[in-house]
Symmetry: C2
Subunit: 119 residues, 2 copies
């Protein structure tokens, strides 16, 4: 039961697109992730995901529109909804999602991260 | 599926100690709350709680020690652990906890909030 400094945790993450666990809350993991560029279209069959932006601006693409999410803002992507996170410049994100969530959802490819570090 | 600006939501909350729902994520509610002063000793039998500090400094009291939590930091209070949030100056908090969570946990008194607004 310690205070967790989000920026300090993010400073320990060097690889883009590598979600890293920083806390556990009921059935969820709290993760931090940095990225730049485009992810891929995917959805999660049974899991809602929360993206809280700490630094930079994320563009969450949906099939019918884009939503910009800036520092101090969050977006919740409901289960079943196709989405693709994009960032023109590096973004720092807190992700909150069930422990069962695979980063690439219904897709498995070279961007899938099966195992996650905890810091 | 919109971007939710946390500070703007907090600006709509005027009463201290009134958790207000700003999002839903799986089995959890995302809430914002402002407070100053002392809450009360309580615990939650079956629910872990996450407190993310947006503004100010919260002192989370446990029976054996205090933990200070500042802006950009969070603390997770595991189920069953007695705690009392305190703030010498006004703090702005994001709370993430199961929908079933009562603010005063195992205690019911004048500080209990049975119904929550959603903004």
């Amino acid at each position: 039961m310690n205070a967790v400094n989000i920026e300090k945790k993010l400073a320990q993450v060097s690889d883009y697109w590598q979600p890293t666990i920083v806390g556990e809350l009921n059935q969820d993991f709290i993760k931090v992730v940095k990225f730049r560029g485009e992810f891929l279209w995917h959805h999660h069959e049974n899991e809602d995901e929360m993206f809280l932006v700490i630094r930079g601006t994320m563009r969450m693409r949906f099939r019918d529109r884009d939503v910009l999410v800036g520092p101090g803002e969050f977006i919740i992507v409901p289960r079943g909804v196709e989405h693709m996170p994009v960032a023109e410049e590096e973004v720092h994100i807190v992700l909150i999602e069930p422990r069962t969530t695979l980063n690439t959802g219904n897709v498995r490819n070279e961007r899938t991260r099966e195992t996650l570090a905890r810091i």
